[in-house]
């Protein structure tokens, strides 16, 4: 019965007016469209609200210090003087150093998985590496404190000192906590991202590229390094930006092993601080409005930087998906 009426109505839907709206409402398509649209728009709203909230909440320090906030290094919550240079320095040092460790390792592993390993074996390893990416960062922090820090103090640190101790980056006392330890832990955390994205990108390189290179007499390595990797370089760059964004925003593991002293030191053994660690450590106990505003400003800076890096990463990965990063 109900179906019969629907069929009749559908045969002659009212063209306009309230009856038309009623007709469409009854069918629900417009409603469903609208409701889901609202939820999709909610994502845009949340994201813009985040920027807005951070912007408003950091008003006090933005007006008080202006750009001096970024290059003065006195951080004194008691006298309400805030310069974020040590945090920015620590964030940059740890993320760049961790990338320097993770990129060669990750790219090499991705090459192995995409080019050499049999597909089934490669898929299994990739599965395990995805699991590594799923390990919560506080677990890495736990292992950092009880495994990497003692190792740094007893083995890695002394070894570096005796072999490369003449370099200024390896001078100074080594207590185990510091930039280098944080970078090592970070490198372990971002390497899965580099591997899984690079592997996918390498797998999309057309087979004939490899065959052509091998046919010209290149060795397997030469074909990979001079033909396949350059072909995939856009996507690999994407994975690097993605990893860098991760490293910049990573909080817990770094907080637990970097030592948390706002200090700019050329020694990698020195303890330091990062933006994310400062927020994690100080925010809950922040006393004054200025202090909270300063930490909010740090959060805003962090958000905008990762926003830009992630944006670039996505664009690069999208570009590779659409017909390859053919070197032109």
């Amino acid at each position: 019965m109900a179906t019969a009426t629907t069929t009749i109505e559908r045969a002659a839907p009212p063209e306009s007016g309230p009856r038309a709206l009623l007709y469409r409402l009854r069918h629900g398509d417009e409603v469903a469209h609208l409701v889901t649209l609202i939820f999709a728009a909610l994502i845009l709203l949340i994201t813009s609200m985040m920027i807005y909230e951070l912007w408003v909440a950091s008003h006090a320090t933005r007006t008080a210090f202006g750009f001096n906030f970024f290059w003065t290094s006195e951080w004194d919550p008691v006298f309400e003087h805030f310069g974020a240079a040590p945090f920015i320095y620590g964030t940059l040092v740890t993320s760049i150093l961790s990338l320097a460790i993770a990129l060669p390792l990750g790219l090499a592993a991705a090459i192995f998985l995409a080019e050499l390993a049999p597909r089934k074996f490669s898929d299994t390893i990739a599965f395990l590496i995805d699991l590594l990416a799923a390990v919560p960062s506080v677990i890495y922090g736990l292992l950092g404190i009880f495994v990497v820090v003692p190792l740094m103090r007893s083995t890695i640190g002394p070894a570096l000192k005796s072999s490369l101790g003449f370099l200024p980056i390896f001078k100074g006392p080594n207590y185990g906590l510091g930039f280098l330890t944080a970078s090592i832990v970070l490198a372990i955390m971002i390497v899965p991202y580099i591997i899984s994205v690079s592997r996918e990108v390498l797998l999309t390189v057309p087979r004939d590229q490899r065959e052509a290179a091998l046919g010209l007499g290149a060795t397997r390595w030469e074909a990979t390094w001079k033909v396949v990797v350059p072909w995939a370089r856009t996507g690999i760059m994407g994975s690097v930006f993605l990893a860098l964004a991760r490293a910049l925003g990573e909080t817990m593991a770094v907080t637990m092993v970097i030592g948390n002293t706002p200090r700019i030191s050329s020694s990698l053994f020195s303890s330091g601080y990062t933006i994310a660690a400062a927020i994690a450590n100080e925010f809950a106990e922040a006393t004054g409005d200025m202090h909270r505003s300063a930490l909010m400003e740090l959060g805003l800076v962090l958000f905008l930087i990762t926003f830009i890096l992630n944006g670039m990463a996505r664009l690069l990965i999208i570009a590779t998906d659409r017909g390859g990063g053919r070197p032109s």
Binding site: V35, M50, A134, V138, I139, L142, T251, F303
Partner: protein
Amino acid sequence: MSNLRMIWRKGLNGLMLTLTGVAALAVVSVLFAVLGYLIWNGGKSLDLAFFTQLPKGEGETGGGVANAIVGSLKLLSLAAVIGLPIGLLAGVYLAEFGGKTFSFVTRYTTDLLNGAPSIVIGLFAYSVAVIPVRHFSALAGGLALAVMVIPITVRSTEEFLRAIPNSLREGAMALGASKWKTIATVVIPAASGGIITGMLLALARVAGETAPLLFTALNNQYWSPGLSQPIASLPVVIYNYASGPYDDWHRQAWAAGLVLLSLVLLANIGCRLVINRRGVRSV
């Protein structure tokens, strides 16, 4: 001469290919090292009291983290209740209704939100859910986790809906069903396995998040009834105990780490196996 060059090239080939294998092996062995350390140190620290008792006072030996286990479950349920419906419906929009430009913008923003540092999401939850009521609460923590759940759910839902062949939609519509009826009674049920798996993965991902909880849910020595009080959670307990000075705290941190890691990894393994078997690209 050319012979020497050939030897060099062959040698380099062998060396570099071996190194790539070593790199892959090294990364995978990290996973086993992580597992090994947690099982070894955590396993010998687990006991019944760990699951059933409240934390003892500072410096005292014994006690457990029952409140943090319940707290984590509570925070996750909150995140699920707030985040999953939003993620699901937005995903339905992107897969079934979306126009071109708006969908692209939404998808892009979703990815950016997904990549936002979790500590910043904590700051956001603090300003919208802690400042107005002037105290830390379970609700604020749940909200922070929900914001992290949304983008993951959106993308996985969209992907699984897209994997449903169009013939199913056409079939339903040919029988006279309207579009929303087709989606609600044919497309979503067909993709439900994948969608639910994606949701579980999203929850598994936020289950281990610590940073957004530090100044939203804070921590609690005791049980936390209702939603408006600070609440303990496993990740925050691990962080506090691991950075604290007492040996017994360290012992419990390892035990809590083992419990958290097992839950997260088991959820991941289960979900990924389901996804792989369905032949859908994992997210």
